[in-house]
């Protein structure tokens, strides 16, 4: 084998007392896709951030094309031909694709639109990326935005592409399109590093895989010679079961939550929810699949009483709850936890301690004007223990915890409230495998207790295996409620785009 094009040798990096990378070494050849696999906090992001110039290593060497390099800023990395696509896109909404691609690149005062578009079209054809240069970013879907990001990097002449969890927000069809692009780039000699949590994708797209654990590189394996089970065990450091249980429970006779023709228009008059109807029974997990922004947030907020609906009804055990205050809904035992992209959002108070966060919904349970701090401490310690939250103390600020632990605080609090309805949106967002499986287990436990669980998720594999029934939504409408055993991922993907299988090419009504 020839010399690898990129070589990271014995990289070390610490943040304060935390050692994020400890003697990590990876190498990537030209025309190769390397997957980085590891749990949260295993140092994957830190590592690629050093390769893209955002951080500088404390020690160790980075070699590109056999030459030692030191990056002091992302600009240095770009100049060396390295481009990174972050989880959150860095595009300007009001500009077109072409404008976003060339921004900060052209030094001339007047931009030649013709020249610009010609170069973009040439790159599109070369790599098989379909892009409309004149489309404004705010009109684009997530995958179109991602294509613009990739194009931005190619336009700069980069031949090393780093992707940080690129598939988290895509449909199966979009993922396939992305993988086609990546394979095309690989054939043209690009180096690609991809970070992902999804083992199936590692197996499908990568040539080799490097497993990181607790800041150290554990092993590098040729993908086709290894199995998902082996990789997981190396990643977690112990044997894990990749099976998600789906215990059959006795359903409640009447629906616990009954949503009927719920509708909501945005301020501009766009339909956010359109005649959405479904029933949720005690003892089941109803999965909800849909592209981000299909009405998930609105549904959650209306049920929790945070948003007013324009029409329809939401009944809890037969009683209308639409129009009740959030507090009244909370008291009836309906718990909603929505994990937004930034993870903190409205469920938690970032600047407050774990202790003060766990009592957010129960601080008022004792009579009198004083907070029951002893209760707060006991509850916090119990939740920290039950959910295995790693925090220096219960008085530690939540925003200083890692993502997984933040989510556990939120979910722990909601479950402690012993709700009758548990609405949870993206509870495993950004979590590693171990932590995710813990959360699936917790949700199943709730189901066994007869709780009605509405699980709004992203990963179709997970949705398919944990849900008793699976509801697919598109544009604020229910496309269909299906038996997850009897549909393929591709069918679900089609439904997420608004096509009902069988109804030949037609929009579902």
């Amino acid at each position: 084998m020839s010399e690898p094009y990129i070589r990271l040798k014995n990289i070390c990096k610490s943040f304060g007392t935390v050692q994020a990378n400890k003697n990590v070494s990876i190498d990537v050849n030209k025309g190769e896709i390397l997957a980085l696999l590891g749990e949260n906090g295993s140092g994957k992001s830190t590592l690629v951030n050093m390769l893209s110039g955002i951080y500088t290593p404390d020690s160790g060497e980075i070699e590109i094309g056999g030459k030692n390099v030191v990056f002091r800023s992302p600009k240095d990395a770009i100049n060396a031909g390295i481009g990174m696509i972050h989880q959150h896109f860095k595009l300007i909404d009001v500009l077109t694709a072409a404008e976003n691609i060339v921004i900060g690149q052209e030094n001339s005062v007047v931009l030649s639109k013709k020249k610009m578009n010609a170069r973009i079209n040439e790159l599109s054809q070369k790599y098989g990326i379909s892009i409309d240069p004149d489309k404004k970013v705010y009109n684009m879907s997530v995958s179109e935005k991602q294509s613009v990001e990739i194009m931005k990097i190619l336009y700069r002449g980069a031949d090393v592409l780093i992707l940080d969890e690129p598939t988290a927000v895509l449909t199966p069809q979009e993922i396939r399109a992305l993988f086609d692009i990546l394979r095309g780039m690989k054939e043209r000699g690009c180096c690609i590093i991809i970070i992902t949590h999804k083992l199936a994708e590692v197996m499908e797209i990568s040539d080799r895989v490097t497993v990181l654990r607790k800041g150290e590189s554990i092993t590098t394996a040729v993908t086709k010679d290894s199995t998902p089970q082996e990789l997981t065990e190396m990643m977690v450091g112990s044997a894990v079961s990749l099976e998600i249980d789906r215990p059959k429970e006795k359903l409640s006779e009447q629906p616990v939550l009954s949503v009927d023709r719920l509708s909501k228009k945005s301020f501009e008059g766009v339909d956010l929810l359109r005649d959405m109807s479904f029933d949720l029974y005690g003892g089941e997990i109803l999965g909800v699949a849909g592209i981000a922004g299909s009405g998930q947030k609105e549904l959650c907020e209306i049920i929790a009483g945070l948003m007013k609906a324009d029409g329809g009804s939401v009944k809890f055990s037969g009683e209308e709850i639409l129009g009740l205050s959030p507090r009244a809904i909370l008291r009836r035992g309906i718990s909603m936890s929505f994990i937004p992209e930034d993870r903190l959002g409205m469920g938690l108070v970032a600047g407050m301690s774990v202790m003060n966060n766990v009592i957010l919904k129960s601080y008022n349970r004792n009579p009198g004007p004083f907070l029951d701090r002893k209760f707060a401490r006991t509850l916090a310690e119990q939740i920290v223990h039950d959910f295995d939250i790693s925090t220096p103390s219960v008085t530690h600020e939540v925003k200083k915890l890692s993502g997984g632990n933040i989510q556990k605080v939120l979910l722990g609090r909601e479950i402690w409230l012993a709700p009758k309805v548990l609405i949870t949106a993206y509870p495993v967002r950004g979590l590693d495998i171990g932590a995710s499986y813990n959360i699936y287990r917790v949700l199943n436990e709730q189901k066994k207790k007869g709780v009605a669980v509405l699980f709004i998720g992203e990963d179709l594999d997970v949705l398919k295996s944990i849900s008793d029934r699976l509801m697919v939504i598109h544009g604020g409408e229910v496309v269909d409620i299906v038996d997850p055993e009897k549909v393929t991922k591709e069918d679900i993907g089609m439904m997420m785009l608004g096509h009902k299988p069988g109804a030949e090419g037609g929009e579902a009504v």
Partner: protein, 357 residues
């Protein structure tokens, strides 16, 4: 390689409490040194001036008393402001709430001058609290209804309140016995706060309120609600809190405390009301509240330090040194202490230029 490339600013993961305190103390020492330099340039000996500041504000009983009068006023105003600030309600209308509180106290003082002091004084305080509270509540309600900026409205309400007192002073409340001078009559003796250990009894009220507010903010549900609401209104609603009610209570409390400050100043220091009686401390209190990180016990300390500077300004003037030196000192201290926040939250590291660069 340019210098900018060699300086790296990174976020700190959280400095310890001790480190934070230390960096603030260092900031104050640096501020004193920097203002010392300014004094040198102006041709004065810094140590001499620092000495004068201390002696002119603390050395005699009457000077100490004056400093304490200001400390009480500044602490009360800062306490009021900090309640609203913790909720991120930017109440900079302490001046107005102070004057309306003083007006409320005066209404009672002139209305029932012969009531016994044990009844009259609490009534004055109560009325001052209500008037100050309502004055703060008006901008809050306008904000709730029309989503206006409370910063602007509370600020503008100051000028209405001050002009209203001027109107009283030059018009209907002008004292006919003052031989033409525009002045409001003196309160009856029953309406004047007695002295305890030579300083007006306001200091006891102040200390009690500091303790009460510390407990309120730290250990009660209301304090918790105010903090949550300050962090995010959606979160507060999500937790089932009645956000409007919490805001009204907190704002009433904020304005009310400033109103009580007005009562104390009117009753104990001015023994009447005038349109000059705040000396602009309603604005200074914004600074002291902020420097004290909105923590009641710290507010007392910061207010005392600022009062020393305020008090010594006059004394320096008499000695032929411009009183603005103390203002320079105030400004420099604020600059450095606020600047130190940056060093608490961020770390700056320098790198050596490498051979290739």
């Amino acid at each position: 390689m340019s210098i900018a490339n060699r300086v790296h600013i990174t976020k700190r993961t959280g400095a310890s409490g001790g480190a934070q305190l230390a960096s603030r103390l260092i900031a104050i020492v640096v501020a004193l040194a920097a203002s010392g330099l300014v004094m040198l340039f102006m041709g004065y000996h810094p140590l001499e001036i620092f000495g004068k500041i201390i002696t002119s504000s603390l050395s005699t009983y009457s000077r100490f008393g004056e400093t304490m009068n200001k400390t009480i006023l500044l602490t009360m105003l800062s306490l009021g402001i900090s309640v609203a600030f913790r909720m991120k309600f930017w109440n900079i209308g302490a001046e107005g709430q102070f004057y309306m509180g003083a007006f409320g106290a005066a209404l009672i003082a002139f209305g029932f001058p012969d009531l016994p002091a044990w009844l009259l004084l609490p009534l004055m305080g109560l009325c001052a609290f209500v008037f100050g509270g309502i004055w703060a509540l008006i901008p809050a309600l306008i904000k709730a209804k029309f989503t206006t900026s409370e910063t602007l409205v509370t600020l503008m309400m100051n000028y209405i309140a001050i002009s209203f007192i001027s109107y009283l002073q030059y018009g209907p409340w002008k004292d006919p016995e003052s031989l033409g001078a525009a002045k409001i009559a003196r309160f009856s003796d029953n309406a004047i706060l007695p002295k305890v250990f030579g300083i007006h009894a306001g200091w006891i009220i102040m200390l009690v309120l500091v303790v009460v507010m510390t407990i309120l903010l730290k250990y009660t549900k209301l304090g918790y609600q105010i903090d949550v609401l300050g962090e995010s209104e959606t979160t507060a609603k999500y937790a089932g809190m009645n956000t409007l009610k919490i805001m009204i209570i907190a704002v009433l409390l904020s304005g009310g405390l400033c109103g009580v400050a007005g009562f104390m100043q009117a009753s104990a220091v001015e023994k009447s009301i005038t349109d000059q009686m705040s000396g602009g401390l309603g604005f200074t209190a914004v600074i002291t509240a902020w420097l004290a990180k909105l923590k009641p016990p710290v507010i007392v300390v910061v207010s005392f330090a600022f009062s020393m500077l305020l008090q010594s300004g006059k004394a320096l003037q008499v000695m032929g040194i411009p009183s603005s030196i103390t203002e320079v000192l105030q400004g420099v201290i604020i600059f450095f202490v606020l600047g130190s926040e940056f060093f608490i939250n961020y770390k700056i590291s320098f790198r050596k230029a490498d051979k290739e660069g």
